[in-house]
Amino acid sequence: MALEFDPYGLPSEVTTPPCALVGMMGLDINTKATHKAVWEAFALNRRPDRIPLHFSLLTPDFQLPNMKQKRQSYEWYIPKGILKTNWISKYLKHIPALVVMFYDLDWNDNNWMEKKNDLAAKVQTLKSVVGCRNSRVALVLIQSGISVPGEDTGAAEKAATLCTACDVPAKHLFVLPHSDAHLIGYTVRLENALSEIAWSFYQGEAKGVQGHRDFLNKTNHTLLFVRHQFKLGFFNELRNDAQTAIKHYAQCYRQLLELRSTDTNLHEIRIVASIVNYKICRLDFTLNLPRDAIAQFRRHIDLFRQRTGPKELIFEHYAWLSKQYQIFGDVFEEAVRVGLPAVQTQHPGFYYQQAAQYAVLRRKTALQVCKDVSGPVSDLLEGWDKLEFYGQRPWRPGKHSLEPPEQHREAEGIKEVQYHELREVNHSNTIIPLFSSAISQFKKYRCPRIKRHLMVQMAEEYHQAQDSTKALTLLSHVMWDYRSEKWWKLLSSASTLALQCAYNTASLMEYCSVALEMMGKKLDVTQQHKLTVHANLTKILKGEPPEPESNNTTTTTANRGVDEVREAWMSLLGSHMSPITVDMTTLVPCLEVRASFTQHRVHVDQRVNVVVKIRNSFVSTLYLSSVSVTTNIHSYNDKLIETDSDKLILPPNQTTDIHLSFLPLVEDVGKKVKVTEVRAQLGGSDSVVGVVLQWAGVGNEGVTAHTADTPAFLEFSVLCQDAYDTTVPIPETEILPRQPQLSIECEYDSTSLVWEWLPITVNITNTEESPIADISLNLGLDSSSPSSLEHTTQVCTSSGLQSDKLGSQVCGFRCGDLRMAEKSSVTFYVKSLTASERTLHLKVEYSVSLSLGVSSVQCPCVSEKTLHIQARIPFQVSVETQSLKFEKVGRVSGGEKFVVVPKIKCTSHVPITLTHSSLALVNEAQVVGSDVKSQVSGTELSEGEVGVDCFCVAFTHSATSNSPLSLGQYFLYWKRSGSECVAVRMSVGLPSVVVEHWGVCVECEAAPQGTVRTPLPLTYIITNHSTTTAELALTMQVSDAFMFAGHKEVRVRVLSGCKERVCYTLYPLLAGNVRLPRLSLSMDSQSPGHPTSLDPLLARILPSHVYIMPQAKESDTMVSTVTNQLSTLLVS
């Protein structure tokens, strides 16, 4: 029996796409290059867009299959079956519709006549061979040159003679010019012409078949109705007329259904139905009628699903159904490949899936009905693959009767088929590829869940086929998704299978992980089963092989290897193997853990506590031999371990807390300790095999994160009965520096004055229980301060007060060591250059020796403090220049005396003391007098008070005239009252003064006061500073208050560098502050007639008034005293 033969599938000739067969003769492809090229142009690389033709190269001595004797009458003819197996291939391969005779012959060939006769002879021979079959004959002349129409008039004539000689119609003669460039083009055109001839042959054949119909009657020839319609369909298919072909095939299918069917002929009918259905569906798809194809298939299935056939061969029915679905899936898929769009709910995958399911059913029923089959009894199946008719039984070929001819032989035949089914058919080899096709289709059409379901079924199949390793791989992919979507029912069924597979393959790790999951409460497994699993797990831990998984689905074949498997377990557990690790993160196991720190932050001198909560959701107590927690800092890991098995007894449905702790190391200050892993060793102390359970993170990562019972909304946590589900573990803790036991007090005025050195006294008291060392103080502007403050803030210690370059930080000021309860104090000075708020940061670092347990370590500590200072301006200085008459002046003349008056207004909240003040004048100015004293030194000012300083200043005559001239600066030295600090110098710019140059200066010598009717001398001294002689006109104006003696109007000439005195004697007439007679001077300038008036100068520098006392009476001594006192006052 052929290996490939499948009694339920389609014969290969049916699935070959039918196309017209064209025979080619006269081509010598082995020796002639031209012939080879022509042959290849026709037969090779036939793309789908070319006309469907099949070319076969014929040798000159080829023969056609013999014709049967033409039947004259069908009256007595009883057909023996429906479709003959040889008929299709006869037309596909052996009977050409057209034979093309190729011949090298140019029109102007020298030996034209000879060759013509040769060709005619060949054609005659050919005709004698093909004549009886009505195959058409055509001639193709291969010509080397291209004949231009009109050039060679002999061509048409020669062609006509040739046709006559060969007895072929003129339309069947072709010329193929052989030139390399256009060969393909010529062949394609020739092909078109040839196909027409070929199709006309099939049309003729079809007519012949149709002609038979008249002879048929409905009583004897129902089978022939079916056969003839099939033939018509097939001929039309060969003609490339799909529409008509479908019509005939559909008619054929209808005729087929009208046949009476019994158990005897059912198989033949359904095999033929399968062939016809295939043809219809396939043509529907090629005509882009997928709906028709699907509808036809559904009808086909619906009609035949009920016709199960004899009970003993029920598996044949399922084999046939499975095949139908598979065939349709293939046809559908082929259509999709060439461009048919398929959708998620209608694609080939569904048909493969159904095919796989029927294949499974086939095996199941086969195992049921064939269980009594003993062995091969006869050779009744001989020739099963070479029957004359499709679908007939090999033990009664050519019999198409409704009743079995021989009961006994029939029963034997059925037994044979059953034996064949049981022993010769490898069902898994059919089922697994079907699942695999379905899976790839469902993957393509985005059905991940259906794909997973199929994978489970495929795994079941692999398990049945003794390939548990593959099954386990498939299941492991699927189970992950079922877990994360919480379909426990599905996971349970997959797990049950996975446990069997793990047992069969003796894979310890998989066995343990599946077992641990099945023992959990999530999985829908019976209590009894859970206990069995637990018992097996316990056995493994003790080094004994587990009991085989008893399951009613386990087949006899699966049980075959029980002993081998047991052997494998024995040798596995017997060898001293290293402990295996089960990754619990990917499971929903019966043991859940949560490792949590007790605090988010821990000081370095405190113990870090870790609580590991272990929940046992199995129905009885479980034992662990160790629990350990791994952190990112490895040095602690050896401390985070619990091996006391008394503490590791886990009662059922309870949470057990395990407390672990460690002391952090000083060098880890600032680091974060994070739980990276929790590990536990399964089993009590008597375990032989090491099974380590491993959870990533604190135990709530991976699948656990999805599957926990924690409510999605925290508000619902109160409804959760188990606190285990709602407590959020603390996965990491930060190690903080030790809490400093140091008392630090800062004494300072929080309101500082701008420019002053504000003292800040830091008092440190050691309140630690041991001496401290390496105290280092840092004081500076807080790092978050704006950069503008950095430039306007200076910080120093007392040693740095005199330094020029001071920054806003003092770092690492050493303060030595302190014994217990000892005090120390340091003063810092802070200068604020602007009035704003400043935040200062004080950091005290020190180290203390701690005794932790036995060892003592130096532990660094840091104590920090923040200080706030609001700086305010202590005083405001405004400076005025005034004339000697204390009137504000902006202009002075060279040599003229004036006063500089700084006014200091105190705005400080505390009294300040001005210690000293001085002027720094520019070169052109100088202080008048030798003993210059500050008027404010030693003055104390409180808020709101004003102090006034005064300096008499004059410009030298060399000072540049008529431009503002800065006087210089005013320095003020000051400090807080009562402060021991050094005084701070503050400088204020003096205002600018415009220097005028008159060349002449007038001074007045007058007594401070006069008395009525007492002569009062008055002298004006006119000095000429210029280099030229000054000509002056002097006028003294009359006044009502005085009579005077002297020049009223005079011209005065003052030589360069000389003085001139003009004297008057006044006689006051009125008492009081009386206006003096006004002196007016005008100087002759370079331009005569335009004298320069000196009046503006005189008004500024000369006194305008004088006090005139009334005459004292003898009795009134008081008045004279007052007068005297007044005069002193005026002078000062």
């Binding site: 709910t345 259906i450 959760c720």
Partner: protein, 138 residues
Amino acid sequence: MAVCVSVIGKENSPLYVWVGSGREELHLHYLAHTGLDVIQEKITSVTKTPGDTRDLYLGLLYATEEYKVFGYTTNTRIKFVIITDAANTTLRDNEIRMMFRRLHSLYTNVVCNPFYIPGHQISSREFDKGVAALVAGN
């Protein structure tokens, strides 16, 4: 009427699965689960325009030889899947739609219970009764 009624949560985990007695429970679980493929495809392909009041009833998801699987989704992405016998031709589309509406209101009652934690499996006697009445067709 129905052989399986299931309520499936937002994250595609089953909240409630009722299977008619005497049916292949596991197989129906698989069917309800695989129906999610089609539901998901339908949901993602439709909700493109905002404010679009999409029909909650998704119609027939797919059919096998034995069963028909129907789907329905609420606005909060809770899915209902009802499976009927493929042979049961008396059930009309409208009746299936009504069953889903009733199931939806039953589910709403469950969620309104202040002691129910959303996302957890439904264990409610009232709901059981409601589903029993629903599948009995009265």
